[in-house]
């Protein structure tokens, strides 16, 4: 009896199990972290509330990825959104939290509205809410309907995932939530939207047309670039990380979009390979973004500010946090031999191999997308050099950073666990790819028993290409060996003295914290290079004592938020204009309202024979 109940409502195929794994591997360290994080900040009643909400949040996500029924999926999707809203506005003292929560809840409900529309069309065709029944009904659905359902699903899940231009809630909501919640939201909740896309579009709808994949590729490339360019300009650690989430969702969608393109072109090996790459990046991003948010949270808790322009020199007072942040930064910049490198390499190889096996225009398109991915990798590395360097290195820039202390044990435990996972997922790439091959095979529906992705247990090698190998354990080994060699050369040859003295700086001996490079200065070349998109403007203010004597000068530079200004504000203005014009119906006069009733009664009288 219970078995039947479980079978009816739950679907534990490899895709769901994979996402359950992702959810648990991020939620557990975040929960442990929150022990130390919430301790000094809130009252004990509020901490109990936080735990309760966290529990509901994680269990709703668990249900979202494992149910078999569209209606139940929608219910738990809504619960997940609502509970995360409560968690975003948890810090009710700041009015920014309230504003962020408002934007978040509105955007996520718009997404859910699109989802409901798509599900209603699916229900009309299949007359059932069950995934299996819908799947078989979708085989005979007309192409136009399929296109509409696809677009609605993309809009609905895209709002939750953070695809440009629906990403606007991410930079508001993620910074304001408590840090362990930010890590779960950015690491896991966004990924449930990717689960939705894979489940509903690839598994249920079935892919016949190639323009779906191309559309997702285009949107993904735009998300990558927009996310990373805005991230470069940010000086709030968590907003920076939130924009990087947009970028990495773009990279994950590159893998998923490629899988869709190759499925429609009937290239099974490449489709499975690209989906493996996408899912690998998914789990990698969950791990390192979760880690980065936890580290940012511990920095915030220790110093009281999130503005990196006010921090500095934290590596000396917070060594553990610094090492974990460094590992996370190295992983997100795709440096070998960590996990980010493996997944980005896989996606690039998927592009290249796909270009080898496809026709004309698509080849060039794939090549340009690959180049854009390389560009975002480079820009992401630049951004994290800035983030890590200015926050942790050199001298403290203000009093905030002066009084910092290391994080408590539970926070350290959560962070160290995730850093350890980064290394494991980087070195053990082959094993993970074998597991992911099963997941992708079951999601797309191809048989993977004949496909091999590795040369031996240490080397990755896609079988489609000639002579392509990657072995992260070997790279790690070589790096360590040569590092040791360098150290031996260092010790053997040459004089052994190293004195510590002030920084030389071309002979200027009066160096203080004011001389250091700031984050704004670090990102200035990028601001100029991308000014066609960022549209920076500055405001100056001079205070004069007399006409010739300027006493002080205030200079502010801002970048315009392009999406907010050109898409959302006109839309909001249109909505308000329409609402104002509809106010003219309601004049507040009783006579007018009675007259409305009267007219309707008259019309009913006149046309009663129609009814």
């Amino acid at each position: 009896m219970s078995d039947l109940f479980l079978k009816q409502f739950f679907l534990f195929d490899p895709l769901s199990l994979f996402f359950l794994f992702v959810i648990s591997v991020i939620s557990l360290p975040s929960a442990i972290y929150s022990f130390g994080y919430l301790k000094g900040e809130y009252s004990s009643l509020k901490i109990k509330l936080a735990w309760f909400l966290l529990f509901i949040f994680v269990s709703s996500m668990v249900f979202v990825v494992s149910v078999n029924n569209v209606l139940v999926f929608l219910v738990f999707w809504e619960i997940m959104s609502l509970v995360s809203y409560f968690l975003v506005v948890f810090d009710t003292n700041h009015e920014k939290s309230i504003q962020a929560g408002m934007i978040y809840i509105i955007m996520t409900h718009i997404g859910t509205a699109f989802l409901i529309a798509a599900f209603m069309i699916l229900y009309k065709h299949a007359n059932s809410f069950d995934f299996g029944v819908i799947r078989s009904a979708c085989r005979v659905m007309p192409v136009q309907t399929k296109n509409i359902v696809f677009l609605l699903l993309l809009a609905g899940f895209g709002t939750k995932a953070g695809i440009v231009p629906l990403h606007i809630w991410l930079p508001y909501a993620h910074p304001q939530a408590p840090s362990h919640i930010s890590s779960i939201m950015s690491g896991v909740m966004i990924k449930t939207a990717i689960y939705g896309i894979i489940r509903f579009v690839i598994f249920i709808l079935g892919i016949n047309s190639s323009w779906w994949g191309v559309l997702i590729l285009v949107l993904a490339v735009i998300s990558c670039l927009v996310g990373v360019i805005y991230a470069l300009m940010e000086h709030d650690i968590k907003r920076l990380l939130a924009y990087h989430s947009v970028e990495n969702i773009g990279i994950i969608l590159l893998g998923v979009g490629l899988a869709m393109v190759f499925t429609s072109l009937n290239l099974p090996y490449l489709a499975v390979f690209s989906l493996i790459a996408g899912l690998y990046h998914l789990v990698n991003h969950a791990i390192f973004k979760g880690l980065l948010f936890l580290c940012a949270g511990s920095v915030y808790k220790a110093t009281g500010t999130r503005d990196i322009e006010k921090l500095g020199g934290l590596i000396k007072v917070m060594p553990y946090t610094a090492v974990c942040f460094l590992l996370g930064a190295m992983a997100i910049s795709a440096l070998p031999p960590l996990n980010g490198f493996v997944s980005e390499w896989l996606i690039l190889q998927a592009f290249f191999l796909g270009a080898l096996n496809s026709a004309g225009g698509l080849k060039l398109f794939l090549g340009i997308c690959a180049a854009m991915l390389a560009l975002t990798g480079g820009l992401a590395a630049a951004c994290f050099v800035k983030a890590f360097g200015i926050t942790f290195l050199a001298l403290p820039r203000s009093n905030y950073a002066n009084k910092a202390k290391e994080a408590s044990l539970s926070m350290k435990a959560g962070m160290v666990f995730l850093s350890f996972l980064i290394i494991v997922f980087g070195l053990g790439a082959v094993k993970i790819i074998k597991i992911l091959a099963q997941v992708s095979g079951s999601a797309i529906g191809f048989d993977i028993s004949g496909m091999s992705f590795s040369f031996n247990n240490l080397t990755l090698s896609p079988a489609v290409g000639k002579d392509i190998y990657l072995s992260t354990p070997l790279l790690a080994l070589l790096l360590i060996v040569f590092g040791v060699t360098g150290f031996i050369i260092y010790r053997l040859f040459g004089r052994g003295k190293a004195t510590t003295y002030k920084t030389w700086d071309c002979g200027y001996y009066n160096i203080g914290a004011r001389n250091e490079y700031t984050a704004t200065a670090f990102s200035k070349p990028f601001r100029i290079a991308f000014s066609f998109f960022l549209l920076p403007y500055h405001k100056t203010q001079k205070i004069r004592e007399s006409f010739y004597h300027v006493k002080s000068f205030v200079y502010e530079t801002h970048t315009t938020s392009v999406f907010k200004r050109y898409i959302y504000q006109p839309l909001l203005a249109l909505i308000f204009k329409t609402a104002k014009s509809m106010r003219r119906i309601q004049l507040g006069s009783i006579h007018l309202y009675l007259a409305y009733i009267f007219i309707i009664i008259l019309l009913l009288i006149l046309f009663i024979h129609q009814f």
Binding site: G588, I590, H591, L594, I597, F598, I605, L606, H609
Partner: protein
Amino acid sequence: MQGIILFTVLASTYLMVIAKRMPALICGFRYQSFCLFVFTLSVALNHRQPDLFIIAGLLFVLKVSLIPYLLYRIIKRIKVGENLGLFINPQLSLLWALVFTYLSWIFSTRLLISDKTALGSMLAIAFFIVLAGLFLMISRMSALAQIVGLLVMENGLFLLASMVSGGMPFFVEIAIFFDVFVSVVIMGLFVYKINKLFTHIDVHKLSRLKG
């Protein structure tokens, strides 16, 4: 016989519609209620049911005497009570009343598929009285006119019910009479209060209160 009575009811309704001041309106209302009383009496005499006699009596007591008396008292206490505040001038109101009569005639003929023309005209008149009450509420600014409009609508419904189904159940009738009476008392109180606060009872000026 009943035709003449109903014609009188119609005429009194026209009187109400073209009334320019409050006492004229109440006068028309009294005529209408009186005719209704006579009509109910005739129906009661025809059917010989004690209920109908009681109802006719109540009709006379309440609607012909008590309620108009209350309304007169209100007008005397409020100095601006006589002013009705017409949105639509009396001639145009009469025109609209004629249009509504024609419309209710169409409505009743469409409702009745069979050939009972006598019943059809009576139905038309009853429905027209309801429409006239609603029209009074719409086209007069004063709060007292709203009260009278409600009363006229109730009259029309009473007529409709008694024609179509031989009157509503007895207790329902009693309850409705009582309801109407109490509501007039309460509305009178309210109108007095409104006048004290705003020094006018012009409902149209309420629209200034919107935000």
